[in-house]
Amino acid sequence: MEVLQTHKGEVKAANKYIGKNIKIREDVKLVQGKGHYIDDLELPGTLHMAYATSTYGHARIKKIDTSKCFTIPGVLYVVTGEELKSRLSPFMEIATPPSGNLRDYPLAVDKVRYYGEPVAAIVATDPYIAEDAAELVDVEYELLPVVLDGEKSLEQDAPLVHENIGSNVVWKGVWDLGDTESAFDRADLIVEDVVRTHRYASVPLETNGMVASYDEGSNIITVHSVNQMPMFSLPLICAALGIPPSGFRMIVPPNVGGAFGGKIINYTHITLVSYLTRILKKPVKYVETRTENITFGTHNNERIYHVSLAARKDGKVLGVRMKAIDNCGAYPRYEPAGAVIWAQVVPGIYDVRDIYVEFIQVLSNKGPTGPVRGYSRVQHNFMWERMMNALAKKLNMDPTEVRFKNLIQPEKMPYVGPSNTIYDGGNYPASFKRLLDTLEYKKWRDLQAKSRPDGRLIGIGVAAVIDSGANNFSQIKIINKDFPASGNSDVGMVIVDQFGDIVARTGTTDQGQSHATTFSQIVAEVFDTDPEEIKFQEGFDSISNIWAAHSGAYASRSAVIAGTALYYAARNLKQKVLKIAQSIMDEPISDLDIKNKEVFSKVSGKKIPLAKVASVAWSDVGLLPDGIDPGLMSYAIYKPDFKFNMPDERNRINNTLTYSYSIHATVVEVDPETFQIKILKHVVISDPGTIINPLVVEGQEMGATLHGISAALSENLVYDDDGILLSSNFWDYNVIGAKQMPDLELLQDVTRSTSSVLGVRGIGEGGGGPIGSIINAVEDAVTPLNIKLISSNISSYDLFSLNRKNEVI
C-alpha cells in the first residue's frame, strides 16, 4: 500500500481512500440526464445570437448590408465589426509589438482573415429566427490572396494576414542549450528530416456556449459560460468591454460537456454576448453549431520541423538542431503561448542535452489555434518519435533498441533536463521493457517477417512521450517579460458546517474529470471519513465562490494544484477541529484524532460527533477556548515551487511541476489494395504518480488514446487552395466511433512524483502518444512499398496517393 507522503518528508499511515476505486458520484445524475449544461440554462426572456460568417479565406469587407435581416419579425439587433471597432477595445495580446499590435475583435473588422470568421451577429427572440436572419446579411467582399502554409507565410511576397504588424511573424525565439557544435563534431552520423503535424481540433461533444445577462441596478454583467480558464479570460473580457472585474461575474455550470483545451479561446463570444446584453438589457445566449465549432472552436497548431540529429553509430543521440515553424492561424488568441509550451518536453523522454531550437510562430488564413489536448507538446513529442525512427532506419537498428540507448535512466531521477525541466521520477527503461513484453514485440516482428512474402503489410510502432502537467505560467515571460502572470496557484476550501457535515470546494472547473469524487477522496483521507460523506460543491462562480487567478481545468493541473490546496485546507481545518474538541473533551490534543465524522481519543476511547464541535464552533461560540475564532472554515491557496521558477537568459525554466510519461505500442495492418489501416493491437504504459482514483486515471488515459488514434488516422482539417475549409462538419471531419476504436491494454508503473505534494502527476492530456506509435507503425507496415510519411495524420487515401507517386517514379 502506498503512503501519503509529502515532499517535506511528512509521513502518514497507509492511504485508506486515496487510490481507491470509488465509483464516480457525478455519474449518478449524468446517467439520469440530470446534469446542468450551458444549453439547459433558460433565463427568462433570453434572446439568441447567431453569426453570419465569412465564405472566403481572406477578403476585404467593402460593405455589409444588414437591413434585410430586419424584415424578419423577431430580429432585434445586428452588430458588425464596424460597430465593435468603436465600442470595444481590441483584445489584449500576449506577444509584444510588432505582433502585439495586431487588432483582434469578436467580429471581423475591415477584412476577414479565415474561412468561417464571424462577420456579423444577429440577436433574435428565437434561435431559428436568428439563423434565418444570419443568411440575409449581405457582405460585399474584395478577394485577397490567401496564405495557408506556415513556411510560405514567411516568404517575402506572402500576403499579410495583419498588415499593421508588417509581417506574418507572431513571435520567434531561440533555445541554445548545451553545446550542439561539439555534439555535431563528435557525431558518427547526422540524420536530417522534416516532420509535420497536421491541423485537427478537440471537438468536445458539447460545443462552446454562453449566456450573458445584465443587471441594470447593480451594473453587473453575469456570464454563464463553458470557459475552462475563467480567471484567465475574465481580464481579457473586462479590458475589451472597458469594465472593472467587479462589474463582471463569471459562472461556469457544474457540467461542461468536455473541453480538451477547446473551451479557452471562447472569450471572443463571451465578450460579444456581454456587449449585446448590456445594450439589449435582456439575456443573450450563444451556443456554437457543430459546424462553427469545427471551423473556429480552436484548432491544433500545425508545425513543420526541419531537424538535424547527431548520433553515434551505436544509436546514442548526441545532439539535435531544429527549426520549427508553427502555424497559428489568423489570430493569436491563446497564442503565441504554444511557441514556448512545447519546451516543457525539450528532450522528450531522452537523455539528450545539446539541443538548439529556433522557433517561429506565424499567421495564416486558417482558423485560430489554441490549446488542444497535449497542447504544443504533442507536436514536439511526435518530432522526437519520428526522428528516433529515422535514426534507427539509417543505422539499420531496431527502433526500440535506439530508444533504449537514449532513455533517461532511473538513477538520474529527478532529472534536470537541458532547459531546467525537472522530470519527477519514473523508470522509463523498465516500463518500456514491460510494454514490449506485453505487446509480444518479438512475436509480431516474426509474424511481420513471415507474412511479408504473402503480401501482408503488418507494422509495429512505438512512441514514448512526456505528458507534462501543472504548468508554470512564468514560461510566457519568455515571450513577453511584462506578461502579468507567472507560477500557478489554486485554492481549496473545507468547511465543517453547523450540522457537522464536511463540505469542500476548489477553484477549478470540471469538464468530466470527476472532481467531486476525487477531491472528496483527498478530504476523506485527512478526516478518515468515508468519501461518500464529504460534500463537494461543484461549479465556478467568480463572485460567490472561491478562486485563484489561475483557477480552471487545463494543463492537467487540477489534481496536482487544486488537490494540494484542498489537502492543506483540510489539514488545517482538522487541526482547528481538534483544538476545539480538546477543550470540549478535556483531553490533550495529541490523544485526539478524527474518524467517520467523530473526534475520538486514542487513549480513553471517548468520542464526540463532529456536529458537536461544529455547534460550538459556529453558534455556541461562548464555549470556544480563548484565542480561537468562531467557525470551521479553512481556506488554503497553494502556489507550487517549480525550483527554476523564472526563465533565464537562455529560456531555461521548469515549465511544469510534473512530468508523467506514457509509452504506446501499436501493431497495424495495411490492406495492400484498399490501403485501409487496421489496428491489431495497442498497448499503453504510463506512470501517473500517486493515483487518487484509478477509474478516473484510466478514463483519462483511454480518452487521451482515443484522441490520439482519431487524430492520427481520421481527424483532419483540410483547406483547399483558396482557404475554404472542406471538413467543417462530422460528415467530413470524422471523429472515430465505437467500431473504429480498438481494444486497449493499459499498464501502469506507479512511482510517486518527486515534485508534487501528494505524489500525484498531472495526466489526461496524454502527450499524443498514439500519434507517434501509429504513424511509425504504418510506415513500418508499408516498408515494402517504400513510402515515407511526414505528417501526423495518415489516411488510406493518403497511402494510396503516396504509393501511386512511387509507381509513377
Binding site: 443568411e135 459546424t291 472542406l726 467530413d732
Partner: protein, 283 residues
C-alpha cells in the same frame, strides 16, 4: 443548425398527395427524412414546401412475398429490410446493404422510398436494387406506372420521377440461388462511403449464367458495370477472369473526387471490392 421555414402538408391518401404535389411545384415529399432533414438543417437545400408521407393510409410500411416476387413498401425502413428473414433468404444483397446504412437510429427512421427518391449515388440501397434488377412502382395524378431501376437514375439527385409522382413500392425477384454480396469502404459510420459494390451473380456448374454488378459513388448516379457483366457471361470465375472483370468494370469510370477519396482512389477501391466480392463466390 436549424432549417428554414416551410409550408407543411400532411395528406392522408395518395390521391391527395399527388394533387398537392401537382399544384405545388416546390413541394418536396418527406419520408424518413434522414437525407433531407440534415441538408435542410445545414441550409444546403431548403424546400419552401414539405409534404409528409407519414399519414398516407395506403403507404404503411410492409414487406410481402407473392410467389417469386417480393414487394417492399416505400415506407419500409432500412431496419425492417435488414431484419426481414424473407429478404435475407431471397435477396441477401438487399438485406446486407440495408444493414450497412449509417447507424441504427438512421436505419430505424430512414425509408427505402426516401433513400431511392433522393437520387444520391452514395446510397447503399440504390446499388443493391440495381444488382437485383428491381422494379419501382410510382403513383401520380395520372395513375400508376412501373419504372425499371435501370431507367430510374438520370443524373446527380435527378431521377425518372415526374413531379407529382411518389414511389409506392419496390419489387424484386427472389433469387436465393444466385451469389450475392454487398461490400463497402467508409472511414467511419458518420462519414459518407468512399465506395461500395453490390453483386448478384448466377452460377451454373461454376460458370456465370448471369451477372449484375452495381457500383456506388462511382459517378453521378448509381451505376452498373455493364461491360464487365457481359464479359463474365459463360466464364468460370477464376482469378484471371475476376481481375479482368474488375478492370473492365472500372476502366472508364469517372467517380467524384472529394476530401475522402480522389477519382483514382475510388476506382481502385471499386475494383478491389469487385474482385473480392467475386472471389468470395468461389472457393
Amino acid at each position: 443548425m436549424r432549417p428554414r421555414p416551410f409550408d407543411f402538408y400532411q395528406p392522408t391518401s395518395i390521391k391527395e398527395a399527388s394533387e398537392i404535389l401537382h399544384s405545388h411545384e416546390d413541394a418536396k415529399p418527406l419520408a424518413g427524412g434522414q437525407s433531407l432533414i440534415p441538408m435542410m438543417k445545414l441550409r444546403i437545400f431548403s424546400p419552401s414546401e414539405i409534404m409528409s408521407l407519414a399519414k398516407i393510409k395506403e403507404m404503411k410500411p410492409y414487406i410481402s412475398e407473392t410467389g417469386q416476387i417480393l414487394k417492399i413498401g416505400a415506407m419500409a425502413t432500412h431496419d425492417m429490410i435488414h431484419r426481414s428473414d424473407v429478404l435475407r433468404n431471397a435477396v441477401p444483397v438487399l438485406s446486407e446493404a440495408a444493414g450497412e446504412i449509417a447507424d441504427q437510429q438512421i436505419r430505424n427512421r430512414g425509408t427505402i422510398g426516401g433513400n431511392i427518391a433522393h437520387g444520391d449515388p452514395s446510397t447503399n440501397l440504390s446499388a443493391a436494387l440495381l444488382a437485383l434488377d428491381a422494379e419501382i412502382e410510382v403513383q401520380g395524378i395520372e395513375g400508376t406506372r412501373i419504372i425499371p431501376i435501370d431507367e430510374f437514375f438520370l443524373d446527380l439527385f435527378t431521377t425518372a420521377l415526374d413531379h407529382g409522382e411518389i414511389i409506392t413500392e419496390f419489387r424484386v425477384k427472389a433469387s436465393p440461388h444466385t451469389k450475392q454480396k454487398f461490400m463497402k469502404v467508409a472511414k467511419s459510420d458518420t462519414a459518407f462511403p468512399m465506395a461500395f459494390v453490390a453483386l448478384n451473380v448466377g452460377l451454373s456448374e461454376g460458370f456465370v449464367e448471369n451477372a449484375r454488378i452495381a457500383l456506388g459513388v462511382a459517378g453521378p448516379t448509381p451505376l452498373r458495370a455493364l461491360e464487365a457483366e457481359k464479359f463474365l457471361l459463360k466464364k468460370r470465375l477464376d482469378s484471371e477472369v475476376i481481375t479482368k472483370a474488375a478492370q473492365i468494370a472500372t476502366k472508364d469510370l469517372e467517380p467524384p473526387s472529394d476530401v475522402h477519396a480522389s477519382e483514382e482512389y475510388r476506382k481502385q477501391l471499386l475494383s478491389t471490392l469487385i474482385k473480392r466480392g467475386l472471389s468470395s463466390f468461389v472457393g
